[in-house]
Every structure is written in C-alpha cells, then in structure tokens.
C-alpha cells in the first residue's frame, strides 16, 4: 500500500513538472510584450514607483520633495501638482512601474523599449558607446545596455530631466541621477528585474528598488496610449475636481 502510494506520488511529481516547467529562455533575447506582475507586497506607497526602502533625502532633495503635492500615498491630497495631471511626460523609471505593458524590440545597435503610456520609445544603445559626460537632460534619459551573460541585460542611464517624479507618491531626482537596471530572463515567460538609483544630489545613499517580475504577454499588443491634455482637462473638470471638493 505504502509502495503503491509512493509510486503514485512519483508519477504525479513527474506529471506536475511536465505541466508546470517553463520553456527555457532564448539566449540574448528580450523581444516581446512584458507586463509587471502585481504582487501582494506592493503597497500604495509603491504606486508607479521603484518602492523598496527609500533613502534619506539631502537638503536639496527635501526642498524639492516639499514642493510636491501627490495624489497618492501618505501625503496624498485631492488635486495636487503631479506633472502627469497635465499630461507632462511621466519620465523614467516611473513609466516602468505604471500599470501598462511595454515591448522590447531588438535592433542591431540598440534595444528599443516601447511603452504603452504616451507610446514612448526609449533607446538603449548596445553598440558599446559610453554614457555622455554632460548630457542634455531628457525626459527618458540617455541609456546604454549590454549582455553580461546569455540571459542578463544590464542598462545604465543618466541625463534625466528633473521635472519628473520617481512615482505617484512624489519623490524627486536630479539631472545627474544614474539608474542601473538588470533584466534577468530566467525562463521564456519571466524576467526578474532589479533597479538601483544613484543620485547623491537628492539622496543620502543608493536607492535599491523593490525587486519585480515581468511576465511575457504574447496575447497583448501595445496601444497608442497618448495622454492628451485637452481630454485630460475635460476629465479633470468633470470627475477629478468634483471628487476633490471638500465635504
């Protein structure tokens, strides 16, 4: 009896592995539509934000932080001055944490990251060039990437326009912020993702983001999700402002 039970358990384990084992990742290839997996530990404080333990702000960082009036999180108040309420660019890395997917498109000298939000295309140069020393600030920065092994793509970036926030709960960055992203494709359908922010002008130490997982979405397509100011203003007048009136 025990023996037959044991055999059944073994057979079930083999069948289970066959059903649940993921196909392996292709080498040096991130092509496809990816969406961030929502997990229970992600809180409102992490809304459209790297999350994790946020380092202490410098004096410069605190002054900028105090000017922000977010619509989410512990400082949330109806209304506010989140740049995206005017359809200003969301910026990076915030767009990565926005709950719409992106697509990786690989070209010979760069990897393109095409986001649904505002149909943003971010170029990640893979031709070996270094990051510029004194780049013009850009909404989505200046990025270079390389494969450190067959399944891990590492992106370094800087030159970010400092008018963008790091998340919906606020938090500033400077133009000299440097971001490191690590996309590790562990099987066909899964990227384990880590990110760190070095911005000594704004933060006392390196900000290590909460690790996230991206899942492949072959059935999803990237739409042209432009934020259109005239439409957003109409929405603000008809729904956002009535919702923000005091009781």
């Amino acid at each position: 009896m025990t023996k037959s039970l044991g055999i059944i358990v073994i057979i079930e384990s083999i069948l289970g592995l066959a059903v649940f084992a993921q196909p392996p990742a292709p080498k040096r290839d991130l092509s496809g539509v990816w969406a961030m997996q929502r997990t229970p530990e992600v809180t409102v404080e992490d809304t459209q934000s790297p999350g994790g333990e946020i380092p202490a702000l410098t004096q410069w960082g605190k002054a900028r932080y105090d000017l922000e009036k977010p619509g989410y999180g512990k400082r949330a108040a109806p209304g506010g001055n989140d740049p995206i309420l005017q359809c200003d660019p969301m910026g990076f890395p915030r767009i990565l944490y926005f709950p719409t997917p992106f697509e990786f498109i690989q070209a010979p000298n760069r990897v393109l990251q095409m986001f649904e939000r505002d149909h943003v295309v971010r170029e990640i140069w893979t031709d070996g060039r270094p990051l510029p020393n004194d780049p013009d600030p850009l909404w989505y920065g200046y990025s270079t990437g390389k494969w450190v092994d067959d399944f891990t793509f590492v992106v370094e970036s800087t030159g970010y326009d400092d008018r963008t926030w790091l998340g919906a709960v606020g938090y500033p960055h400077s133009e000299t912020m440097r971001v490191e992203e690590r996309y590790q494709r562990v099987d066909r359908d899964t990227i384990n993702f880590t990110l760190k922010i070095e911005d000594p002008q704004a933060y006392a130490k390196v900000w290590i983001a909460r690790p996230r997982v991206f899942k492949l979405r072959p059935k999803a397509e990237i739409r042209q999700g432009y934020c259109v100011a005239s439409e957003e203003n109409s929405f603000t007048k008809r729904i956002r402002e009535p919702g923000a009136l005091s009781k």
Binding site: T39, T43, V44, T47, R223, I239, L245, S246, K247
Partner: protein, 130 residues
C-alpha cells in the same frame, strides 16, 4: 475541509492585487448604482462612463465614473462600443469620499464591474494574462 480551502483562496486572491490608490475614492467600499448610460468616453488615460441615476426621492442625478485607459479596457475585453447612451446598467464602484456623484470602477479595484439588464457582465480583469 473543502470549504475552508475555498475561503482561504478567496482571501489570498483579494490580497494579490494592489488598490488603485487614489485618495479621492473610498476604495474599501463597493457600491452598486443602477442607471441609464448618457455617455461613454473612450479616452486615454481615463475612459469615463456617465449615467443618469434616480436617487431615493426620484430625482435624477448624472454620475461620472472614472475607469481605465482604452489599452487596459481592451485587454479586459472591452471595445469603444461596449456601452452606449440608453443602455440600462448597474455598476459596482468605489464612490467619492466627499459624497459627490463621481466614482471609480476599474482594474485598480477588484470587484468593480458593469452588469447589463440581461445579466451580462463586463469586468476589468486582464484577459491576456496566460
């Protein structure tokens, strides 16, 4: 034993998805309102549903309901023709905390959905998840 398992599963499932997180809405509430659609606006990043709702005194109030972008709605199985003026619907939504006739129903708050008079339902769950 089976019942217990089902109960635990439901709790875990509800914890899996983060709230929309907008402070204007009471996201702990799920309120059911019934009315007639006056407009369905299919715009980015906020689509909107407007509907005439009769209050308890019989007065008609036009409600505005914020919902998701066309991208998110498309992946949940909606189209720009999913709702049209004149449709009689019920919406399960998160109302504004201040009592104004505005609300949220969308992927950020599980359990929110649209129910048609014939019982057909439209929810906000992404159908492209494998």
């Amino acid at each position: 034993m089976k019942k217990q398992f089902t109960f635990v599963f439901l709790i875990s499932a509800s914890m899996l998805v983060a709230h929309h997180g907008n402070t204007a809405y009471d996201e702990t509430a799920r309120v059911r309102i019934k009315g007639v659609v006056t407009e369905f606006i299919w715009t980015n990043p906020h689509s909107q549903i407007y509907l005439d709702v009769k209050d308890s005194s019989g007065k008609v109030v036009n409600w505005g309901v914020e919902t998701n972008s066309p991208g998110i709605l498309t992946r949940a199985g909606w189209t720009r023709r999913s709702l049209k003026a004149g449709d009689e619907i019920t919406i399960i939504l998160c109302p504004a905390k201040n009592g104004q006739p505005v609300a949220y129903a969308g992927s950020g708050d599980p359990g929110t959905k649209v129910i048609f008079a014939d019982g057909r339902e439209l929810d906000f769950v992404d159908k492209t998840i494998q």
